[in-house]
Structures are given as structure tokens and as C-alpha cells.
């Protein structure tokens, strides 16, 4: 199925980054060039660039409205900087990660690439991207500025490979009109298991299947990912050596979801995106979906869709999340002018980071998250507290295909092809073999 959770979705989370990038002048570029050219200083941390004209290539996966915003900012940047020309290449995420290695190995790749945190280890292990420890140091970035999981997610083998820009968790979307029709208070979305199931019962009485369980990664798989952690489970053990998503909590969480179908709160055989389209059309009431949908909902002025933190169904709060990172791609031949230009670009972009937050994303950097201006962006800041308990994927090379196995297991359970226990047991057996293969291949 889809290779990693980001695939096929444009994450509004627009790497851009917001605060994260703020102040961070990707001096990082220096990291790459240092190894090749003896560490000559490239630029002054991105404040300006006075050398000959350089052309920079930046790749991202922002194929939606976020991409338009991004391109507009780049145009503005280019018009303000006569000697730096940034060209943006955008691909869908599912194509992006298959396309990048070939492009890089052939020398047609980008100078700067946006990546998800769970992809960093794979690309780092394969030598596609450059270490950025010196960047973080030069920018005086520290763990305290970030959510710990996000900060650690950029690290592989004790080295930093990505500078986190944002985080994009799952949110809870509810249709106010449908709730009202069922006699529920549209301003009080359920926050825990009892309220949630009570609301579903009321909805059922009014003839609405309230919470559609999609069997696909988007969004049923990510919902299960969240609940598995809420029940106290994990996908892998601490060293990412063994898969653990068939533990008792995992099986219970999966069973709870699948039972909603049996109890008639969801139709069977929900198709890709059908859960969300049904929410927008008032066919169901609740949907756990990515923060990127905030922008989509805003497109329809008549939509009565509310956004809240994902309810706590299990014994603790937890929610699926991922993060966009800036990475510097290793080039066949290093060019310090390009590196300096890249720094200026990133520096400039970070100064415009609040424009990004308005597009619907949570800045990774605490300082920006806590600013009054960010708090003024209503729906996005509503989801910001989730950062504290978000369950990010671990950093391990080759994890993409293992996560596919996890989502496939859920697909089989949700479609009733196997019992939850059977589906997850089978998935773990296969995932463990894949992890073993990865260990051999990447030698960790």
C-alpha cells in the first residue's frame, strides 16, 4: 500500500517551517561542504549572499494548496534576491521517495529536500543526505526548543540529519450539523471513551453511522496507530529490533475499532477517502484525520466541521503524528556558493514562518508555538497541545516497508478478512523478518 504515512497526502504541514526554520539558517549546508572542501565558511549564516548568481533546486511533496502557498513565497524570495534563483520541484509523496534516490545518484537531484522524520534514517543510512550537527550547533538549536520526539527523530546513529520544521498530528473532526440533528451539543465534542460511545449511540438512533472505519492507512490505519498507543501499546520495542503491534493493548485497540463496524457505527468496506467525504457531506459525524484537513475545510464556507484534540479512548492520551524536516542532499560536486545561497533562502523562509502556520500546521519550535500570534490561529493552535503526547514513528533505516506491513494488518482486520489477533500476529511475524533483513542490510 502506501509507503509511509505521508505518502499520498499533502501535508499541509508544509515543511515550511515555521518557527522551526526560524533563525535556523540552515548553515547546515556547511556540513556537507565541510567534508568536501575543508570546512571553508560558506556565507554568514544566511544573512546575505553577495557572490555570483546561483540556482538552487528544492524538492518537496506539497501537491495541494500548500504547494501553491509555497511557490508564491519562493517567487517573492526570487524577486527580492537577484543573485539566488530557487526552483521548486513538487511530486506526490508516494512518488517522491522512490524518485529521490535515482535523481540524487544521477546528479539530477535537489540541493534541499523536504523529508518526513521516519524517512531520515533510511536516507541517512544510504548516504543520500548530509549530517547537520554543525548546523544545529551554529544555530544554537537545542532539544528544549522542540518536542523531544521531534528533536530526536532527526537523529540517526547519534548524528543529526534533519532540521525539524513542523509537526502534523491527527486531529478530531466533527460535523456540527449532524450532531445537532442527533440531539448532541455541537459545541461539546466527545473527549473520552464514554462520551464518544454515548454520542455514537445517539447518532445511531437518528439513523447515522457516526464513525466510519477506513481500512486504509489514510485514515483508519493512522486512527488505529493512535489508539494502539492510547491503550499503552507500541509498534516496536525500544531498539526497533522487534515488532510489538500484536501485544494485548494493540489487539484490544484493534478489536474496539473493528467492533464499531459490527455494532453498526460504521459501514463495512469503507473506501479510500470515503470516511472524510462522508463527514463533509453529513453522512457521518466523526473522523480522525490529519491536521492538513483544516485548510480543506476552510474552503467550504458553509461547512459546519469542528476541530478538536483526538479524544482519549484508551487509558492515556496519544495520537499519530509526523514531522517535516529540511535536509541537505549530498552532491557529486560541492559548491560553496550554492550552500550559502541555500542558507539565505532558509533564513528568509523562516522569517515568513507565521504565514505558514496560517496555512494549517503546528510549528515544531516551542518559541513560535507559544507566541500570541500563533495562538490566534484558531483551529491549528487547537491541535498544538497534542504535540506533548504525540506518538511519532521511530528512526530506523528501512522502516517504510515495515510500516506498510503494519497498515496492511489493520486493513485485513478492518475488512474482516482476519480476526484482529490473527491479522496482527501475521503482521508481526512478517515485520520481524523485515526488521531482520534491514539489520543485515544497514548493519545496525
Amino acid at each position: 500500500m502506501i509507503q509511509n504515512e505521508m505518502s499520498r497526502r499533502r501535508l499541509l504541514g508544509l515543511g515550511v517551517g515555521l518557527g522551526a526554520a526560524a533563525s535556523l539558517t540552515l548553515a547546515g549546508c556547511g556540513g556537507g561542504s565541510a567534508t568536501k572542501s575543508g570546512g571553508t565558511a560558506s556565507g554568514n549564516g544566511g544573512k546575505d549572499y553577495t557572490g555570483p548568481k546561483v540556482s538552487l533546486n528544492l524538492w518537496n511533496g506539497f501537491t495541494g494548496g500548500d504547494g501553491d502557498i509555497f511557490k508564491k513565497l519562493v517567487e517573492q524570495f526570487n524577486s527580492e534576491h537577484q543573485n539566488i534563483a530557487v526552483a521548486v520541484n513538487t511530486y506526490r509523496w508516494e512518488d517522491y521517495y522512490s524518485k529521490l534516490p535515482g535523481a540524487v545518484s544521477s546528479g539530477s537531484g535537489p540541493d534541499i529536500a523536504v523529508m518526513h522524520m521516519d524517512q531520515l534514517a533510511t536516507f541517512a543510512a544510504r548516504g543520500v543526505i548530509t549530517e547537520l550537527d554543525d548546523v544545529a550547533k551554529a544555530l544554537e538549536l537545542s532539544e528544549g526548543d522542540f518536542a523531544p520526539t521531534v528533536w530526536k527523530g532527526g537523529i540517526y546513529n547519534n548524528k543529526r540529519y534533519g532540521i525539524p520544521l513542523d509537526m502534523h498530528p491527527l486531529g478530531f473532526y466533527y460535523n456540527k450539523a449532524v450532531m445537532q440533528k442527533a440531539g448532541l451539543d455541537p459545541n461539546k465534542p466527545p473527549t473520552d471513551k464514554d462520551e464518544f460511545t454515548a454520542a455514537l449511540t445517539e447518532l445511531k438512533k437518528s439513523g447515522v453511522q457516526g464513525f466510519w472505519i477506513s481500512p486504509f492507512q489514510f485514515t483508519g490505519g493512522m486512527t488505529f496507530y493512535s489508539l494502539l498507543h492510547q491503550w499503552g501499546g507500541t509498534l516496536f520495542d525500544a531498539d526497533v529490533a522487534k515488532a510489538t503491534f500484536n501485544s494485548d493493548p494493540a489487539v484490544e485497540a484493534c478489536t474496539w475499532l473493528v467492533d464499531l463496524i459490527k455494532q453498526g457505527h460504521s459501514p463495512a468496506n469503507v473506501g479510500q477517502d470515503a470516511d472524510y467525504l462522508a463527514l463533509k457531506s453529513g453522512k457521518n459525524a466523526f473522523n480522525f484525520n490529519g491536521i492538513w484537513q483544516i485548510n480543506d475545510i476552510a474552503k467550504d464556507p458553509n461547512a459546519q466541521i469542528g476541530v478538536a484534540e483526538v479524544p482519549q479512548i484508551g487509558s492515556q492520551k496519544a495520537v499519530w503524528a509526523n514531522s517535516h524536516n529540511f535536509t541537505i542532499v549530498k552532491q557529486r560536486s560541492a559548491d560553496n556558493n550554492k550552500v550559502s545561497g541555500a542558507k539565505v533562502f532558509i533564513n528568509w523562509l523562516s522569517e515568513h514562518s507565521l504565514d505558514w502556520a496560517k496555512g494549517g500546521q503546528v510549528p515544531a519550535r516551542k518559541q513560535v508555538r507559544e507566541s500570541a500570534e500563533f495562538k490566534g490561529i484558531k483551529d491549528v493552535s487547537t491541535l498544538a497541545p497534542e504535540l506533548e503526547y504525540a506518538a511519532f514513528p521511530p528512526a530506523a533505516p528501512g522502516l517504510g516497508e515495515v510500516l506498510t506491513t503494519f497498515y496492511t494488518s489493520f486493513n485485513e482486520a478492518a475488512l474482516g478478512k482476519k480476526s484482529p489477533k490473527q491479522a496482527l500476529d501475521d503482521g508481526v511475524a512478517k515485520a520481524n523478518k523485515q526488521l531482520e533483513d534491514n539489520r543485515k542490510k544497514y548493519g545496525s
Binding site: 500500500m1 486504509f216 468496506n269 473506501g271 462522508a278 453522512k283 496492511t408 486493513n411 478478512k417
Partner: protein
Amino acid sequence: MADVIEVGAAHRDAPPPAGSKTRGGATNRGSRATPYLFLAPYLVLFGVFGLLPIIFGLWLSVHQWDLQLPNRPFVGLDNYKDLFDSDSAIYGDWWSSVRATGIFTVFSVPLLVAVPLGLALLLNRSFPGRTFFRAVYFAPYVLGVAVIGLLWRFLLDANLGLVNRLLGAVGLPSDTPWVTDVPWAWVSLVGVTVWWTSGFNAVIYLAGLQDISPELYEAARMDGANGWQRFRNVTLPGLRPVMLFVLTTTILASANVFGQSYLITQGAPGQQTRTVVWRIVDEGLRDNDAGRAAAMSIIFALALIVISIVNFRFFRFRED
């Protein structure tokens, strides 16, 4: 392979008397270099993009090969062994994809050979509006798989799609899981493919039908043959080479199925509709194991060669 050669050899092994011009036979005119001059442009292409990739693919298949990793160790037949070892991580996925491609091919090929033939027969005779109908049946083919995949996923959605809605409107079951459960997913994938590509095969049949002499039909008619008999005794034999061509290209196209299941069923349920080509592309490009992907390709290609030989033997077409 041997039999394929035999097909070509059928007329070659009967050398014509010197100077005579046997029908379809090889004659020798011009200098000794002439044949090679004629062949040269093709052979350059064939060498670089036909043979070289195969040899390179064989080489890849005995290595653990990654576009990025500098270390690409020789692993002997390990890549092949993994595909047949039920303890390997890839075993289940691989055979499930083989099964998926097999099911799709077995059900789509007969339809893609028969339905277009029916269309071609309908469209062969001259009548007002013929060009319009030809264009209509051909129209879906000019759309790329990205568009038809998206279109049909939306139309076939079990709970929201137009197809179930229309079925419900005429009193048929309206909750068929067209894209999320088997066998319905196969019905959808095969059906969409027939809809998408029939027009193309029909055009090839139409070209073939032009080559059948009207006099043959006339003669059959004078012998008192009815429509079915004329079809059996004149049309079918006359179409034999074209049919072999359609059959061969269709088997290959069906065996290469990727976009339809990638976009419409997304492999669901589980990985049951995930096909061989999808598996190969994922393995080689996404999971960066070009060696294993190459091993899969080679087994896949060998299987197709065997199938094609059977296919040729069945038709045993010769010039006469």
C-alpha cells in the same frame, strides 16, 4: 524458446531453388553487407535497450544492489532462494503478487480477446455513424491510467459510489464492495480494464478484417454457409495472425497490470490485489533492493516466455 525459433524456421528450412522467388521466402539480392545495413539501426537500439538491460538485470539479480549504497556484495542465488523460501520476509508478498497477477490475467485475457472481436465485427460493415461508434469505443483508451483509476475509484466506492447507487435504483443489491473485497475487486479491475482497452484491440481486429477477401465470403455464401459458418470458416482463419498478435500483446499487457490496482483497489483487501509489477517496482525503487527486484523480474519473464511458447504452439501459425 526452441519452438518459437521453429516458427520462424518453418519456411527458412525449405531453401528455394536458386533464382526462384518463393512466396515469403528469403532471396539473396544485393551485397553480403546489405542485410546487416538494414538491421543496423534496429540492432543498435536492441543492443543498448533490449539486450544490455537483460544482461545487466541478470547481473543485478545475483547481487545485493542499491542505487545508493556503495557496497553491492555478490550474493549468489540468495535473491532467488528468498523467493522460494517460506521463511523469508518476501515469500508471502511475492507469491501473493504472483497469484494476483495470475488471477487478473486469466480473467482479463479471454475477455480482451473476445469482446474487441465482437466490437470489430459490429463495426466492420459500412453503416451511417460507424466512425462515431468507432471513436466512442476507442475513447477510454486515450485516457491515461491515472485518470481512469481516479474516475473509477470514485464511481465504484461501496458506500458512496455511483455504481452501487444505480444498481440500487433498479432494485439490485447496492452494497457490493467493489474495491475492498474479493472477488468483487477482481470483477472491478477486469471490468475497468476491458472498458479501458477493448477499443484498442478492436482497431487491430478491424485492420485484420480488412485483409480477408470479400470473395471468400461470397464463395462461402454461394456454398450456402450461414453467418456462423462464415465466421467459423472464413473470418476466424483469416484473423489467425492478427489474433495471435492480439493474444500475445494482451497477455503481456495483462501480466504487466499495475496502475489499475495501485489506484483503484490499492492492493486491498490486505495485499490480495497487489500485482507482480507493483511488487517489483516497490522492491527495486522504494525499498532499494534492485537485486531482489531483478530476480523477481527474471522469474516473471521466464514464466511469460513459457506461456507465450504454449500460446504459439497452440496457434502454430504459418504463412499458409
